[in-house]
């Protein structure tokens, strides 16, 4: 007797199925039995199954964003309803829910492909025009400013991931979205960590991101690798963009890649030799004569050119000590982490306290750098330039409210 329901009962699992990995794509139990239902006269009807599959995969950017932001189907439906879409197209909530559900399913199916964007380009399951693919990838790897500021410089470990609920609570970003962003950071980090060649290019090639986004990821990877401290209260006023800029400066000037562009980790690790050489700069503060000479040269150069001349003159030795001490300590990994704190504490805060304008800071740092060249007995010009050009641009970038 042919009974369609009977068929599955008949199925006995004889012989071991050799499932290697159950491929679980679906984390949300959105397809629960309690689907949509409506009453129609006395008959109750519920939707058991509802799918729509296009030959060209239909993807609504708005729904994609809601999905990326980690909203549940129900939340997404109510958000969409608030946008007035029902009235605009004269449709019902049912329809909207079905549409949202379809999209969520599609996105969840594409998600594992998005983890390896090169796979998305060569996959056969979804026919997606190239520009839509680019959009999907770009949006998937985009991150929230608030989130990245929480995680920047932290070790991308399981421990950090466990703390994401705190991050979620603090930033108001859904936990799901936080997880996605964290996993993105981690994935990119894992892939490019040990790669040869320039970091930005590696990110771009492997994840098919836009130039801007690739640079941001390079910064995130760089920060995560060196574990720079960015979360301290004093650093809170800094934006991700500030850090990304600084990271870029550091990558370009202080890493191994700045001198040799074909070594492993070239853009991720700071140039050890250079850090060692930085110790030599200590002479600028340890040698009393040189310190005085340096000060007088700077004062001469800046007299009448900055508004806070007196404050500068009075504070010169402290500032100089601060700058040189940062340089000298960079051989310690711990102190590398505190690089930005040190910059803020030793340079930016004292200047701010004396109400230096950014132009004053610029003039001072320029003069300070240049004057060192004229010092007798100072033989570390190359290291000095390499150090100061980064310090200068970082400080100037970070010098704001």
């Amino acid at each position: 007797m042919y009974t369609r329901t009977a068929f599955l009962n008949k199925r006995k699992c004889v012989g071991k199925e050799f499932d290697v990995k159950p491929e679980i794509f679906f984390l949300l139990p959105f397809d629960s039995k309690s689907g949509r239902s409506w009453d129609s006269n006395e008959v109750k009807m519920s939707v058991e199954l509802d799918v729509f599959v296009g030959n060209t995969t239909i993807m609504d950017e708005e729904v994609y964003q809601l999905w990326l932001d980690g909203y549940t189907v129900n939340d997404a439906v109510s958000i969409r309803m608030k946008s007035g879409i029902l009235e605009q197209f004269g449709t019902t909530e049912d329809v909207l829910e079905s549409d949202t559900m379809d999209h969520y399913r599609t996105f969840q199916m594409t998600e594992r492909l998005l983890h390896h964007p090169s796979k998305l380009v060569n996959q056969v399951l979804f026919q997606i025009p190239p520009h839509r693919q680019a959009m999907l990838i770009e949006r998937y790897y985009a991150f929230d400013e608030a989130f990245v500021r929480e995680v920047l410089g932290k070790k991308l470990s399981k421990g950090t991931k466990k703390d994401l609920d705190d991050v979620s609570a603090k930033t108001g970003i859904t936990l799901k979205s936080c997880r996605r962003q964290f996993d993105n950071f981690k994935r990119v980090f894992k892939v490019v960590e040990e790669m040869k060649g320039p970091l930005v290019e590696n990110v771009q090639c492997n994840f098919l991101l836009s130039d801007k986004l690739a640079r941001d990821y390079a910064a995130i990877v760089f920060f995560a690798n060196s574990r720079f401290e960015t979360g301290k209260k004093k650093l809170q006023y800094l934006t991700f963009e500030d850090f990304a800029f600084c990271a870029c400066q550091l990558i370009q000037n202080w890493t191994v890649g700045a001198v040799d562009n074909m070594v492993e980790d070239m853009d991720v690790d700071l140039d050890k030799e250079f850090l060692q050489d930085l110790k030599d700069l200590k002479i600028l503060i340890t040698d009393k004569d040189m310190l005085d000479q340096h000060k007088s040269l700077v004062c001469t150069g800046l007299r009448g050119k900055i508004q806070v001349f007196n404050e500068m003159e009075g504070n010169f030795k402290n500032l100089s000590r601060g700058l040189i001490n940062i340089a000298a300590k960079l051989t310690n990994t711990k102190d590398v982490r505190d690089f930005f704190i040190d910059l803020v504490e030793k340079v930016i805060e004292p200047c701010k306290a004396d109400r230096w304008l950014i132009s004053d800071v610029r003039a001072f740092l320029t003069q300070y750098t240049n004057s060192a060249r004229a010092l007798d007995g100072f033989k570390h010009q190359a290291v000095w330039e390499r150090y100061m050009c980064v310090i200068k641009s970082c400080i100037l970038k970070m010098y704001h409210d």
Binding site: C13, V14, P22, F25, M45, S46, A134
Partner: protein, 1043 residues
């Protein structure tokens, strides 16, 4: 040993991790054909293995080549235990057996596993060396081309349309064999997939043999279905139309003078082709001796069937209406009577093929399934179908027709009960296409109908005095020469030459009927008792809805009745249209039964008002303004009413005069609906619940959307499936109906919402398939395509009326046609020469055409000469025109593949993708593109099963993935054949079963279509007159960028 199959396994990619220790896979490949197996080396520790094997050679019979699929299995090598299968690829090598189709299959195929779905891809190359087989008694039919499309394929012309071919093979279902108890679900699924693949191959080969026997070389409108009869077996059956097709070669035509130029092929989107003459008629269908004894063994109920003619009143066809056949009909009859079944699965025809369409004929019968004892002798099933076809044939006869077009067959099975259905459109065909004629004798058609093509098919084929049913006849509003019915229902596509007012729209009638659960014969009887009522109600619904839209004809009518354990579900879909030739439909009048009650009166008049409002709103929406337009049409120079031969018709003239007075629109009798009980009120209200189409949307279930011609190139094909559960067991018919109606409406609403970014657009070929998979479940599935069109142009065209444009295209169409006409004998009467010249002076193409086509029995030999002279002039004009259009024959040069890549590169893409973009459509054309080659039929059957339903996203997630996988596999196969599109794509079967408690589900999907190579129309020269514009070309070739 007439063939050598060569297979090379190149590489794999994206393979799954099979060894968890290393996170890698040691993959190798088994290549199996028939009983021979080859293996590649193991490529160790890689997810992207490069086997680069030698060419594996199989020496096989061509019979096997046709039947067997090439089976490629990818495995993971395991030193200590059995090798694990990763997945399989079945490749149908049939396209390689036909010289005009593909020459090599080469590409990345998704590796498919029935439990895990797609698991990576494998790159395979396949070639076939065929040796000529001179054996006359061969079992193979290599070289016969198969087309799913129900019109003559674009780059061919039909030389002869032979007629109906059918075949059926049965086997035991592996799922129900004893061995299934001890094998894994995977093994069972694979056995089933392989068996169906094998049976499909066998079926196709057998049909091919029949075609060869008939002297044909192709099957058009090939429709293969399978019936899962459960314990009683598995039936794979197919029907089609045998034809002799000639390839229209672009190069040769450019050199040849006029008559065979293909340039029109480029221009015409809708499939109208010059064709065919005579036909060598042998047996179209084999004689299956239906042994009566067998038949009686199984229980069978034949259902009295309605004949839909649109006459409002159904009723079994009475007498044979052909007592007073015209000479014409007698002639054709004789040509067709030699055929057992003068059926055609085509839905659109070469110009002049269809003379009259009589109405829909359908037959259903309820059968009890019995185990098929001997698979080699599938007589029972054959006999069943034979019976149904006979019935259809007699219905057609009753309508005064000798043929059935747009013919299709279907089944619905529940437990051991099976409903067999067949339907088609009774028609009178042009004898010219059906006579034994030879190509060389250049001759005039002596038996032409007198009606212009824009309305001729609407004219009644039956005799007015001997009508098979009561009908209201009037003179044709277009030519005013012959009678037409007030409403016309057909299963075919709207003929391209038909004169239409306004736009068409999808009309659905939906119906649920409860049925008591029963077993065996009682069940079958109950069902067969219900069927006529359902048909009647569906028919009434269709009629009401048609009137409500102010339309007068239905095309593409498909009525599906599905049986479940406790209910029957009926769904009729059709495309409504206002045929200019038919009289304007009257409104709907509501009549109450008890006029005494004032409140009741009030209520009635309210409803009446609502209905009237709806009608006028609909007329606005579909741009039906018949008065103005009919004026234009009629105003165009129509030849004066000629001295028609009244020999046969004179006796009915008196009544004609009366009806002629009735021609004024709007004064027609209204369709009266009587409200006599609550049911009727309910029915009428439900009429009004059909939600209006959102602005910018149109929909139809046919190939052509009446009233829209200027398609832009953006298309989006989709499949949607919904399953609903009825939670309340104690339901009434009405509640059930309302529910079903709601769910269909909801599904439509969803589609409109999803596709909103494509506005203005039309959803074409929107055919719902309903099934009742379980007690309280209703499954609705649809595959359709949304196509955008140019709004401004459409309005313009509407204003200026479609007539001139259409006429020109018709004219072009005609070109080949006169050259091939076979004039046999001069006729009786004389034709004043002045008329001929007058017509020429008028120079309206339509007029010329009208006359030239209107050569009728009554014309003299002089008229014949005159006509051929007109044609000659026309030919010359055409040559000149064509000469100016065609400059260089550079059509075929660009390989579409290369072109595809080029296109990909030009778009801003992040990485060069290796995946070819493949367009899909259920229609036989893609707007803005020209089909330059047919690569063969795609006919694929997949089973997917899961034991981790929840993890895969529940039933919806499971099916969503599966449908996406099916699409992916179809696209991959097409791309491997060198194609870039699938046309006439349909999902013939989607059987879904689940057991949520066990976390299991299983689904079977069967799809088919024609793989083709397309090139964009803008890339060719000479597209002066276009029915579907190719503006707004998007850079993507992969359908619409829809957000």
């Amino acid at each position: 040993m007439p063939g050598k199959l060569k297979v090379k396994i190149c590489a794999g990619r994206h393979l799954p991790v099979m060894d968890r220790a290393s996170d890698l896979t040691d993959a190798f490949v088994e290549v199996k054909f028939s009983n021979t197996t080859f293996k590649t080396e193991v490529y160790p520790k890689s997810l992207n293995p490069q086997w680069n094997s030698e060419w594996f050679k199989f020496e096989v019979d061509d019979e096997d080549l046709q039947d067997e699929p090439l089976q490629i299995t990818v495995l993971d090598h395991d030193t200590y235990s059995a090798n694990d299968a990763i997945g399989k690829v079945y490749i149908d090598i049939d396209p390689l057996l036909c010289s005009e189709a593909a020459t090599v299959i080469c590409g990345w195929f998704p590796i498919y596993d029935t439990i895990h779905g797609i698991r990576g891809e494998i790159n395979v190359s396949v070639k076939v060396d065929l040796f000529n087989d001179l054996n006359r008694f061969r079992q193979s039919s290599c070289g016969v081309k198969f087309f799913c499309s129900t019109s003559i394929p674009k780059c061919y012309k039909a030389v002869v349309v032979h007629g109906f071919v059918e075949e059926l093979v049965v086997n035991e279902d592996p799922e129900y064999q004893w061995i299934d108890r001890i094998r894994t679900p995977r093994a069972s699924n694979e056995a089933r997939q392989r068996l169906i693949s094998l049976m499909s191959g066998e079926l196709q080969r057998k049909i091919g043999l029949k075609v060869l026997e008939m002297g044909g070389n192709a099957v058009v409108g090939y429709l293969q279905c399978f019936d899962l009869e459960g314990e009683s077996g598995l039936v794979v059956r197919a029907i089609g139309t045998a034809c002799t097709l000639d390839k229209i070669s672009n190069t040769s035509a450019a050199q040849l003078p006029a008559c065979n130029s293909p340039s029109k092929e480029i221009k015409e989107s809708p499939p109208v082709h010059p064709t065919s003459h005579g036909c060598r008629s042998t047996h179209n269908s084999p004689i299956h001796t239906a042994s009566g004894s067998r038949l009686t063994q199984s229980f069978s109920v034949s259902v009295p069937t309605l004949i839909y003619t649109g006459m409002g009143s159904g009723g079994s066809a009475g007498k044979d209406g052909g007592h007073l056949k015209t000479l014409l009909r007698q002639q054709t009859q004789s040509a067709l009577e030699q055929r057992e079944f003068p059926f055609f699965t085509l839905t659109s025809f070469p110009l002049g093929f269809l003379i009259h369409a009589g109405g829909v004929v359908s037959a259903r019968s309820v059968k009890l399934l019995d185990r098929i004892h001997n698979p080699d002798e599938p007589e029972t099933r054959d006999a069943w179908w034979e019976e149904i076809r006979q019935e259809i044939k007699s219905h057609a006869k009753a309508l005064g027709c000798h043929a059935v077009v747009g013919y299709s067959e279907s089944t619905s099975i529940c437990e051991e009960v099976c409903i067999l259905s067949a339907s088609g459109t009774a028609a009178v065909l042009n004898p010219k296409f059906l006579q034994d004629g030879c190509l060389d004798c250049y001759s005039e058609n002596r038996l032409e109908d007198t009606s212009p093509p824009s309305c001729g098919f609407c004219h009644i084929p039956y005799d007015e005095l001997n009508m098979p049913f009561p009908a209201h006849l009037t003179y044709c509003c277009n030519c005013r020469r012959q009678k037409v019915p007030d409403v016309l229902f057909t299963t075919i596509d709207l003929p391209i030459e038909a004169a239409v007012t306004g736009k068409g729209c999808l009309i659905q009638a939906r119906l649920c009927r409860l049925k008591k659960k029963a077993q065996g014969e009682a069940n079958a009887t109950a069902i067969s008792n219900l069927l006529p009522f359902m048909e009647y109600e569906l028919h009434t619904q269709l009629m009401n809805k048609l009137k409500l839209r102010g339309m007068n004809a239905l095309f593409g009518l498909r009525i599906q009745i599905s049986v479940g354990e406790n209910m029957l579900v009926g769904l009729a879909s059709a495309t409504g249209v206002y045929l200019t030739a038919l009289p304007a439909p009257g409104g709907i009048q509501i009549a109450g039964k008890t006029p005494s009650d004032i409140a009741y009166e009030q209520h009635i008049s309210n409803i009446q008002k609502k209905i009237n409002d709806t009608i006028s709103r609909n007329k606005e929406l579909y741009e039906i303004h018949p008065l103005e337009i009919s004026e234009e049409v009629i105003g165009s120079p129509i030849p004066e009413p000629r001295q028609r031969s009244r020999l046969l018709r004179s006796h009915s003239e008196s009544s004609d005069e009366v009806s002629e007075l009735d021609l004024s629109h709007g004064k027609k009798d209204a369709f009266v609906l009587e409200i006599d009980d609550a049911d009727a009120v309910e029915d009428i209200l439900s009429l009004l619940t059909d939600a209006p189409l959102p602005t910018g949307f149109y929909s139809c279930n046919t190939e052509n959307m009446p009233g829209i011609h200027n398609w832009t190139s953006s298309i989006q094909m989709f499949t949607t499936v919904r399953v609903f559960r009825l939670n309340n067991v104690n339901v009434t018919n009405q509640g059930l109906n309302k529910c079903f109606n709601d769910l269909c409406e909801n599904l439509l609403k969803s589609l409109y919402f999803k596709l909103r970014s494509m506005i203005p657009c039309c959803i074409c070929h929107l055919n719902f398939t309903v099934a009742v998979p379980e007690d309280e479940l209703i499954q609705v599935a649809a595959t359709a395509v949304a196509m955008t069109f140019d709004k401004d142009q459409s309005q313009e065209i509407l204003k200026s009326n479609t007539a001139p444009m259409k006429a020109i295209s018709e004219n072009e169409e005609q070109l080949q046609f006169p050259m091939e006409l076979s004039s046999d004998s001069p006729s009786v009467q004389t034709f004043p020469p002045s008329k001929g010249t007058g017509l020429l002076e008028n120079a309206s193409p339509q007029t010329i055409q009208g006359t030239s086509r209107a050569t009728s029995v009554d014309y003299s030999s002089f008229a014949d000469r005159c006509n051929s002279w007109i044609e000659l002039i026309k030919l010359k004009a055409q040559t000149i025109r064509r000469g100016s259009i065609k400059t260089t024959p550079s059509l075929d040069k660009a390989s579409p593949l290369a072109e595809g890549h080029l296109r990909l590169r030009s778009t801003p893409s992040c990485t060069d993708s290796t995946v070819t973009v493949v367009k899909m459509t259920p229609l036989s054309f893609i707007p803005g593109a020209k089909i330059i080659k047919y690569l063969g039929i795609i006919n694929m059957f997949f089973i997917r099963e899961t034991t981790s339903l929840r993890e895969e996203g529940g039933v919806s997630g499971f099916l969503h993935t599966f449908i996406a996988e099916v699409f992916a596999m179809v696209r991959a196969h097409v791309a491997a054949l060198g194609g870039n599109a699938v046309i006439s794509y349909i999902m013939k079967e989607c059987v879904f079963m689940e057991n949520s408690n066990k976390n299991q589900a299983q689904c079977l999907i069967n799809v088919s279509g024609d793989a083709v190579i397309l090139i964009r129309e803008s890339e060719q020269e000479g597209v002066p007159i276009q029915t579907h514009g190719s503006t707004n070309q998007t850079p993507q070739s992969g359908g619409a960028p829809v957000s």
